[in-house]
Subunit: 396 residues, 2 copies
């Protein structure tokens, strides 16, 4: 299986076709602002991952059927959830991590690696399905969330008991199923037992870290820790380790990479991963809803404890009590468009936006430096440079 | 490591010391009623399993600490949950399954197998913690359930937001952590990669089946399926596969048992597992609260859709409309002691209790017959006979 992970360096990407091709946007790397929505994985790679996921569900159909109609419904809901979208960022980093450590795409081994990479999407399905219960989110990717979906099925069928409790219960179990099946997919991937043994401890750390990040997130919110350090710690575990660092590390483990390359990947992954989240935080306040698909200023309405908002509060407390008061009374409330606009101006005037942009630039530079001096293949380095640009300069 | 799984056959068990020793109760096997609360695993075996679990948590302390104080709290809550009790039934069946297929206790291999068996308790922790959210249970083993515990911590600290939502959220994540750590414990057990490769597909089936059984359970309840077949299907997946059949199968897989022995174990496991649940159903209505630790007649108040109640409804519908009406209007309501007593008499008079007792006897006979003709070692056969008696004739 030869799959171009990304268009790679040198591919013209300023043309509108870059968007339709969905290739990595390297255009932004040298320009002041990104010009097209960047994607981290090529459509060909996305298709390979989705086909591996679909195959996995097809292979389970008989076993699923034996467990009865509700289980068939649950498995189908999970299949749709997994296949309905997502950027396949984590599989893309795992795949390039493997190649950068000498993995050769093509043949049975390449197929096995792609399947193991695709399993990351099932871990992610668990994280999102459970997160949606935790956040009481009603929609995801423009569809009802899993718990809302089953709440509605309960209502439509006139079943006994509390529909919302039923929906949440089914969604808890479907999330558990996704987590269990993620493992099963790794074991059924065709990776040899030695590769699985190298993979397992990294996989273990990744899962613990993302759960730790989620715990930090909800506790930070409830406990009201407004510090920049707290926000950065959440980014470190909930995003960086889980989205970039450990996926690269998993790929390296499959390829039996040496400790130096693993260390370089982890430095790149931590830095680029945090930068990725910081970009996300900026988009959550300043992003164009037409492009991001999320309502404008949503993070402000949610009062999300991002580094951007923590930094703004820190600066306001030090220099501008009026702005501090405005932020504390506004964040997390039902803001109208004018109020969102006003808060944006406050964040910018406080210098918090510049601060976050500087952090992104510094982290990106440090991550790329670690990559550059590593023993990763030249192709992988070029792709990871492009992915760093796509992750940190994207507009959606 | 030489650990007596049970006292084995021939051990005097009618003496009161049998209770304090916690050995398998084989006394009931030949008598009309069990005379002492039976345990499936010896105290020595329980101690080995608990020590393996504790070691696992200790080995994680440094990694846990890095993730911050709330993660330390979460991991500690999970540790206490896992170590606070439980009969260690699943590890016991896995352990004897391994021995029956030629596994030799003692040495590094025995230690590794014990650790892999102990990992079943982490799967069970996930199942129970998530079940308690699903059922809105406030206590488990006389302690607050995990979601109630963290709800209380939220309240005690005067944190922002909804305390109950916070408690449920943390408990969802702690359950996920238990599920992920169960795998990690298998991988860190010291089993060789070939054994883990044989173990993995059975482990996969077991997890899918228990989640399937839980889905059937909540949907059967909501959807009002009153049939005996529906209740049996829940028993098959939620209890039999998960508690007896797959644990034995896991042990067999570690020992690389042949297909015939696996088939015999699975037949024994399915039959004895269902019989175990049917005994549980009888205890849920007729059990002595002093011994079971659960309020008398609790299953009646919950309107739990057991085979016993399904059979009673089926019989009442066919022969006694008055009893049918009484059952339908009473089950799942807040019954007082007299009403519980009256319903017990109705269940007995309808012949439902005898029917369930016959099912238990038939299943036990069939399961033991499969075991008898198998190639399991003589010691394992004797122990599994004793465990079948303990599982199906217990009074708590």
């Amino acid at each position: 299986m030869e799959v171009p992970l990304s268009a790679g360096p040198g591919t013209p990407t300023r043309a509108p076709s870059a968007v339709t091709n969905g290739t990595v946007d390297t255009a932004g790397a040298g320009s002041a602002t990104p010009v097209v929505p960047a994607k981290l994985a090529s459509p060909e790679f996305v298709a390979v991952i989705e086909s591996a996921l679909d195959d996995f569900f097809v292979a389970r159909e008989a076993a699923v059927g034996e467990l009865g109609p509700i289980f068939v419904e649950a498995a189908e809901a999970l299949r749709l959830f997994v296949l309905r979208g997502g950027k396949r960022t984590r599989p893309a980093f795992a795949w390039i991590g493997w190649q950068g450590a000498g993995g050769e795409p093509g043949g049975a081994q390449g197929d096995a690696v792609a399947r193991a990479c695709a399993a990351l999407e099932l871990v992610q399905a668990c994280a999102l399905i459970h997160d949606d219960i935790i956040d009481s989110s009603r929609t995801r990717r423009r569809f009802p969330t899993v718990h809302v979906d089953f709440e509605q099925r309960h209502r439509d069928r006139g079943w006994a008991g509390d529909a919302a409790q039923f929906g949440a219960s089914v969604a808890i179990l479907i999330g558990d199923l996704a987590l269990a099946w993620a493992d099963d997919m790794v074991h059924a991937s065709g990776l040899d037992t030695a590769a699985i043994a190298r993979f397992a401890p990294v996989w273990a750390n990744m899962r613990t870290e993302v759960l730790g990040g989620q715990l930090l997130d909800i506790t930070g919110h409830a406990g009201g820790d407004e510090s920049v350090a707290a926000a950065l710690r959440i980014n470190r575990y909930k995003t960086a380790a889980y989205t970039v660092e450990r996926p690269l590390h998993l790929g390296a483990a499959i390829a039996d990479a040496d400790a130096e390359l693993v260390a370089a990947y982890r430095e790149y992954g931590t830095d680029i991963g945090i930068a990725f989240q910081l970009r996300d935080d900026l988009l959550g306040v300043f992003g164009d809803p037409e492009i991001t698909g999320k309502p404008s200023g949503d993070d402000l309405r949610e009062g999300k404890r991002t580094v951007l908002l923590a930094e703004a509060l820190r600066r306001a407390d030090a220099t501008d009590p009026h702005a501090a008061k405005l932020l504390r009374t506004s964040l997390g409330t039902d803001l109208d468009a004018d109020e969102v606009e006003r808060l944006r101006a406050v964040l910018t005037d406080l210098g918090a936006v510049d601060d976050v942009e500087h952090r992104i630039a510094d982290l990106t530079e440090r991550g790329l430096a670690a990559l550059e001096t590593s023993s990763a293949t030249a192709t992988a380095k070029a792709t990871l440079r492009a992915m760093a640009a796509a992750a940190t300069r994207r507009i959606a």
